[in-house]
Symmetry: D2
Subunit: 355 residues, 4 copies
């Protein structure tokens, strides 16, 4: 069956298709008494919003969120919070070609194989448009964890990595790539422009760091904090890999190199390193929680690719239309949202069991 709900205690359900009348989310289990208005959510949606520059899809959506329930006189009531965004830029276009053909790299064939039909307008439910609702739900989750700061940025595009020496937090919001390295941002601009003009696309790696998470969140064995992060990140469109802390690089270290030695600190232990990414045995250690997420290149490209149609005949597919040349860029906001949603959920879970 289709399960469109994420979370254990703080749970959210999303619904809606790329080209339906609206998309929405229901956030359930939010603590009462938190100040919440549409203005608390809108900035995150504005940051993710398409059409803001030539490096993202030119679909123009205001993505104006409405709160339909769960808030009364400016604060959350503890009942479900319904969030809704109307789809406004659903161009009437001829879908006859795409309706009958499977776009390689997309979910077209898999959906059809599963359901025997599919909503082919803009990918229907499999469109990344769904992620707007995660960003909205994530804005609510942030209210539940005021002690935590979450920062995500693009660390790599098309195999070109940022230089840690150039890392500047302030820079992240200054360029259209959420890139903390001004020099890399300059290079990426040229790379993406070239890919876009060539009808191609590029992949990206996004890093996300949450500071202020106290030791003790997470729950062994199958509700480990890193399990839920892995599931949450892997559920984002185009994501193919997730690492916690050093991730695959940890597999290349020795035990001594990988040990995060501890020493006495003022407020809990001090750690000499954070190879573990702030999680041990599925439970937070008090260090920053660090996660890395791999986005494949956008599957929708102008360059023709061999495929088949619904009748099983050979066909060629060129995906015309408005697409991000690098979905990982806007994915940064979604990664932040999922981090917030997982942490907020685990804060409540921890409180349930341990008070």
């Amino acid at each position: 069956m289709s399960w469109n709900t994420f979370g254990r205690t703080l749970r959210f359900t999303t619904w809606g298709e790329s080209h339906g009348p609206a998309i929405g989310a229901v956030v359930d289990g939010c603590p009462p008494g938190l100040p919440l208005a549409e203005e608390d959510i809108q900035p995150f949606l504005d940051a993710r919003k398409p059409g803001q520059n030539k490096f993202t899809t030119q679909r123009k959506e205001p993505d104006a969120v409405r709160i339909l329930s769960g808030v009364f006189e400016g604060t959350t009531t503890g009942t479900p919070i319904s969030l809704l965004i109307e789809n406004t830029d659903q161009r009437s276009k001829d879908y006859s070609e795409i309706a009958n053909t499977y776009r390689p790299g997309h979910a077209d064939y898999a959906y059809d194989a599963k359901y025997g039909l599919r909503d082919y307008r803009g990918g229907g439910r499999s469109s990344a448009r769904e992620t707007a609702m995660r960003v909205a739900a994530g804005a609510v989750a942030r209210l539940v964890i005021p002690e935590v700061s979450i920062l995500a940025y693009v660390a790599e595009i098309g195999g070109d990595r940022i230089d840690p020496a150039n890392f500047d937090t302030e820079e992240i919001a200054r360029n259209p790539f959420w890139c903390p390295d001004a020099a890399a941002a300059k290079r990426w601009e040229a790379m993406i422009d070239e890919a876009r003009k060539a009808g191609s696309s590029l992949g990206a790696v996004v890093e996300c760091v949450a500071t202020g998470v106290p030791a003790g969140w997470g729950a062994p064995i199958y509700a480990k904090l890193d399990c839920d992060l892995a599931a949450g990140m892997m559920s984002i469109n185009a994501v193919k890999g997730v690492e916690i802390g050093d991730g695959f690089d940890a597999a290349r270290l020795t035990g001594e190199q990988n040990a995060d030695a501890m020493s006495p600190g003022d407020d809990g232990p001090e750690f000499a390193a954070n190879h573990a990414g702030g999680i041990a045995g599925g439970i937070s250690t008090g260090q920053p929680v660090v996660c890395r997420v791999a986005f494949k290149p956008t599957s929708s490209i102008l360059t023709p690719v061999d495929s088949i149609d619904r009748q099983g005949q050979a066909a060629q597919v060129r995906t015309k239309g408005r697409h991000d040349p690098c979905v990982g860029i806007r994915g940064t906001l979604v990664v932040e949202a999922m981090m917030a949603l997982v942490l907020a959920d685990h804060r409540l879970l921890h409180r349930a069991q341990c008070g």
Copy 2:
């Protein structure tokens, strides 16, 4: 709270500590009428069993599984299957040192921060001993998906990778490393021996391939097949990264390079490549499902590491005792089991919604 249950329709719950009287699992939701006896489970446990050679912990456990419920006259009844393994090799030893000190890289500090106490005997619940029950549960799951073949192997130890040109499926069971490359196995033997003697440890990367999965398993959005694989793999002790298909390498490809072009085939499409690892939009495509899992080096090492004790005072920790110099090796069996459990679950989920 602590959630020790995995799965949606085919669910299993594990319990037990490293040095308690026993460990166990309850597998719920298994279809009725499947032939099942202890002999169907034991070979997988024997393969994972410790103490078989010098490359694994010298703890001697027969790991003899008993079926306590859910099977009648040789077949599953549809009611919960209770599996139990007695712990037999719990050496009486002096835990006073470890009881008061946190081993870096282990869950010791995090458990204590969460629960205010911990079972320090062999890591208690956080011990990899729990994974024996996944292997047992996985053997049951395999019965649910007879059309699927699952093969996992070690692809890399300490940064030294297998050579694809040497790949030989037959070789995997011939060496103690589940390594498909005889030459690599030889190199690893020396590497691990050296690490063991040096009181150190090594990390590993395990690959797992499931063939025979039909198109259509998986369920958008938050029950995607790859979400559940990511969660399942990340829940294994020492795992720090999960990739589907090309994973992080996909982030370095262009859209054309990454596209798995399709052409007409006898039975569904033929794919020119499998960068996607057999999953698109969270749903299987009919190609092999491919997953890669990064294991950090064993945290229990003889080399002393700086740490603190429960009173917050500086301390040094050397983890004496019986430990795998490379946990990824025996992890191979656990990865296979988790693949089986996720796929079996999704087979039933798919049947629920789509008949």
Copy 3:
């Protein structure tokens, strides 16, 4: 936390307050390929709709449902179905009195004790208005179980029962009480009119019978068909009791009297009686599934009742405004909907495990 989701495989989530801008439901896990349009849902909402006669609240709501997702070209796609009803008759009124006082029999005090605040407009989330969305979701569930017929009716109002000798299925839709006994309907008309004029209210018992349920639905032990029916019915506003089959009367029979003797039949066994209400061991037997539900009298009455205010001071409460003198009447539609939702869920659950 607040859990506004019901179901295991076919799941629905409701949201919305009595006097917010809208109420809604998200139905998840629905099989694909079922023909569905707003016209399939609206008749059930019209039947439940307030303001149709003097025996229900005079609130005028068109209760026009919109399908916002999950349906494409007239059929369900397998993705979540979002249903929305705008609230149109939210009279601006002075809530100052009710905002500060707890209405006895209502959830006012309990909500405030739990959340530290409450949406006092019309009861907020605790209003029976939420049940409109169950009726809408139930209309979707009916499509999943075309072999099943569900019939609910009022069997008792204010202690006055129908006479089984007068039972006429055709009569049910002919009177405003869903009463199968024309003579009882006449008596009830006078009783309710009197209660209404006296500023009082009456309770009711609703019976629901589902025919066509095959043997084998339901799942021991904690997902028994009768467990889910009990939970589903008890979740309806004002419900205080649930019986399966003979219910409490079964406690007054001997073992021989209560036995539903079986004899050979053409298609499964024939049963000499149905004391069990079609469920044994939590699993359907092929007989009609029978459930009885007790509704307390409407708590909102004009007659003054002693209470306290938020400051803990004594107060008297008269609930002015538009209220059903007997909530059980319109509850009949909600009982039918919950029966449909539970059965549809179990049909999919059964298919998951047993094919």
Copy 4:
């Protein structure tokens, strides 16, 4: 599928058949630091234990519980608590008759219709023996809610009710019927003796009162406290009805009669009555939580009943062997346990959302 898990935050899973080697439960999510030993659980099992007098089955089971995990040095660790009871009195007997015939009133036919097979030894999984594990799990749950006192008793057997004027709490433990009315206990003794000798059986009604539950536990809409109580009680073998507070009698009151008027009290409101049974809008009000549960007469009777065999041929069934003439009596302990489990779960749920 078969779901053998109950609860949301404090969850327990049971497994085992009547005549298998053992039965067990896994209690997950228990807070850490609670003192727990087998001696805390055993008295509840001893009270439920069969074979203690002629009014219960003569099966002799010591029902000695073992704790296999989740407790270290005398306190709970926060990890899953595994409880196990060996079945010792599994008489070797000839099952050939019962194996091929369906006992009316039992789950025999329904299980076979669902699963295509069944464990016919003593009812297999559908046996009330499973309830021993609920009693054990309930003993753990009681530790989570030390502020709450739970008292269940039999209020009615074979239609003969206790006289409220005779209610004496001390009396409950003095007779073998958990009856608070000494005169009724005397009458019941004769009634049950007669039923037993006649090869018949009787039904019963059990009442359960929990005092000390603070206002605010429970969670609208589908996790209402009364929903979970209804599901939990209905899941007990032989239960056919559940009432909260006045239950079906509330349907016969007017709004004024049913209103639980409030007045200022020292610690929250004082209530003039408790028709609501301590729950409004699914949330506790601070009054005692009151629940009534109807048990049908034992289905296993010596008197022959018409039935069919697996081949669909007519057959007569006499259930020889050792059976309680009135299952409701020992059911009293199970009702108490389910009350404890539901309340403990909701205590943690409430803490998760509201702190």
